[in-house]
């Protein structure tokens, strides 16, 4: 019985690992652009399908497909920003949020147009799962978790120690002051759009490996991603990781009592509760203005 609970916790850690990169991306983008970007969900779908095209159609090995998916998703993020968001920089956040929903409809349906609605999967060697004292875990899942952790560390390193990261944090803290100090905010937006979409695309490949690829794979996760980012304290890329593991664990553990289809309801409930009672996130006190 105790083993069974440990299994849920293990599953929660793995899904937390997959939510972490999109949650970090959401926070980075929110920090710079100040609106909730619904298009994040479709970057997951885009990553999943681009890697599918590379891996299954072009018969490339999955690590190469993964890199291609990240890069192309990055460019997709830049393209979306330039075409849809750039004309509206001065508008209020809600308008941009609605535009991002329009973007996600377009991208999701481009995927549907090309690849159809059926579930797809990568061409991977079948690996035998491992067992530790009754706990089951797939080798792919271990690799996914590891790769995801590596990227989390890299992003933290980028934010803390590089010029670009410092500039990103400066724009996120106070865009006006940053531009007074000569930081080129459009350049920062371009780089952040690339980074955010590339990280999310990477998560898309991971989700595709762990489950399957279909046009709705991203929008199914969007509530959980928002929940993770909001739980972590919106706009903070570091604590978004904590939020992601919290949401992943809560969703998996909820399946003990609830049908698995209600997982995203858990994410939704957490969004509402946290926004109402701790709007600065789980890990910070509310700032009093």
């Amino acid at each position: 019985m105790a083993d069974q609970y440990l299994q849920y916790i293990l599953n929660g850690i793995i899904s937390g690992g997959m939510l972490a990169l999109p949650a970090v991306a959401f926070s980075l983008l929110y920090g710079i652009l100040r609106f909730p970007n619904f298009a994040i969900g479709t970057y997951i779908t885009a990553g999943g399908f681009i890697a599918y095209a590379a891996n299954v159609t072009l018969k490339l090995p999955i690590p190469i497909a993964f890199v291609i998916a990240m890069l192309l998703c990055g460019f997709l993020g830049v393209g979306v920003d330039q075409l849809a968001f750039r004309p509206m920089r001065q508008r209020r956040p809600l308008t941009l949020a609605i535009v991002s929903i329009g973007v996600s409809f377009i991208l999701e349906n481009i995927a549907r147009f090309i690849w159809g609605n059926e579930l797809k999967s990568y061409n991977l060697p079948v690996l035998r799962g491992m067992e530790f004292g009754g706990l089951r875990i797939g080798k792919e899942q271990l690799v996914i978790l590891f790769v995801s952790l590596v990227f989390m560390v890299l992003v933290q390193f980028l934010l803390k120690f590089t010029r670009l990261g410092k500039a990103m944090r400066a724009v996120s803290d106070n865009a006006m002051l940053a531009s007074v100090k000569g930081i080129d905010s459009e350049g920062i937006i371009l780089r952040t759009s690339f980074l955010g979409a590339a990280l999310t695309g990477a998560a898309g490949v991971m989700v595709g490996i762990d489950t399957s690829i279909d046009p709705l794979m991203g929008s199914k996760l969007i509530l959980s991603i928002f929940a993770a980012a909001i739980l972590g304290g919106i706009g903070s890329a570091t604590t978004a990781v904590g939020g992601a593991f919290f949401v992943g664990l809560a969703e998996e553990i909820s399946t003990i009592w609830l049908p698995a289809t209600y997982k995203s309801a858990i994410g939704f409930a957490m969004i509402v509760l946290i926004l109402l009672f701790r709007p600065a996130g789980l890990f910070r006190r509310t700032r009093v203005i």
Binding site: T95, A97, F105, I106, F113, P259
Partner: protein, 295 residues
């Protein structure tokens, strides 16, 4: 051909009621609601289930509107203090969770199969020209709603809602109860969506969760913004524009040979998304901008 026109007009009028509801929330009061389809679904399912139990139409209609209003006020009471961009997330999330509920609770909603054979009101009296009768009924409902909402708009209450939309701090300083008025406006909008749901369910006599996807909310937004938010005539005109657009794209398949099935559906959704973005960027005031009222 005439039957096709009647069917299209029926859908236009149902969308017009939805757009009028969103207009009270967004157009009058500036409250974002991306989960309009959720209240539409509450109305449709409530009325359908009660009618299947044998209750008369007007009873199931009233119950459906009340329940949609109840859900609206509940969501508004808990979340309207949020910043509007987060309200967007929460309202969209609400409609998705509701759809999950409809999909999973087979014992109540029939799950993915939905509800079939929903009785049509006064079916026995109008078997011959029933669809025409139904359309006339909808026209009557829409006219009454329009008159009521126009009256509301030019009343002091409507002026207060607009004041809240423009600057809620000023409205609060002028002694208006901003939060209560916002909850009321949101509730009224949700009730109207519920009413639209009732007419939708009893017209099709079949409903299923797949009809209540976020695309419907987006369609209503497109209709309202294209027509002119804040303007009731605009909301109704927008429903015509939207339906013209959606039906017009149906004929794309006559010109492009490979456009069938899921591909056609995908192209239509791409066009709706594109239309929404272009409206937001270039013409947020719509075809019929809000009329100035001097008072």
């Amino acid at each position: 051909m005439i039957n096709y026109l009647i069917a299209i007009l029926t859908f236009v009028l149902i969308y017009a009621i939805l757009a009028l509801g969103l207009n009270v929330q967004w157009g009058y009061t500036g409250l974002v609601n991306l989960g309009h389809v959720g209240f539409f679904a509450v109305g449709a399912y409530t009325s359908a289930l009660l009618a299947k139990l044998g209750l008369p139409f007007f009873f199931s209609l009233a119950a459906a509107i009340l329940l949609a209003a109840f859900f609206g006020s509940l969501l508004a009471l808990t979340t309207l203090r949020l910043k509007e961009d987060f309200l967007a997330i929460v309202t969209l999330g609400f409609s998705e969770i509701l759809r999950l509920f409809l999909l999973n609770e087979d014992w109540l909603t029939g799950g993915a199969n939905g509800i079939i054979a929903i009785p049509r009101p006064l079916w026995n009296h109008f078997t011959k020209h029933y669809d025409l009768f139904y359309l006339a009924l909808l026209v009557a409902v829409l006219i009454l709603l329009f008159l009521f909402l126009e009256r509301l708009r030019s009343s002091p209450y409507g002026r207060m809602l607009r004041a809240i939309r423009e600057d809620e701090i000023v409205a609060a300083t002028a002694g208006k109860n901003v939060f209560r008025s916002k909850v009321q406006a949101f509730t009224l909008g949700a009730a109207l969506a519920g009413l639209a749901g009732v007419f939708y369910a009893h017209y099709l006599s079949y409903i299923a969760p797949e009809m209540f996807i976020p695309l419907v909310s987006i369609n209503v937004w497109v209709a309202l913004i294209a027509g002119g938010s804040g303007n009731n005539k605009g909301a109704i005109l927008g429903a015509f524009v939207l339906m013209g657009f959606l039906e017009g794209t149906r004929f794309l398949k006559d010109f492009i040979p490979f456009l069938t099935g899921f591909r056609l559906a995908a192209v239509r959704e791409i066009l709706v998304g594109l239309f929404l973005i272009l409206l937001m960027i270039y013409r947020q005031e719509g075809v019929l901008p809000e009329e100035k009222i001097l008072s």
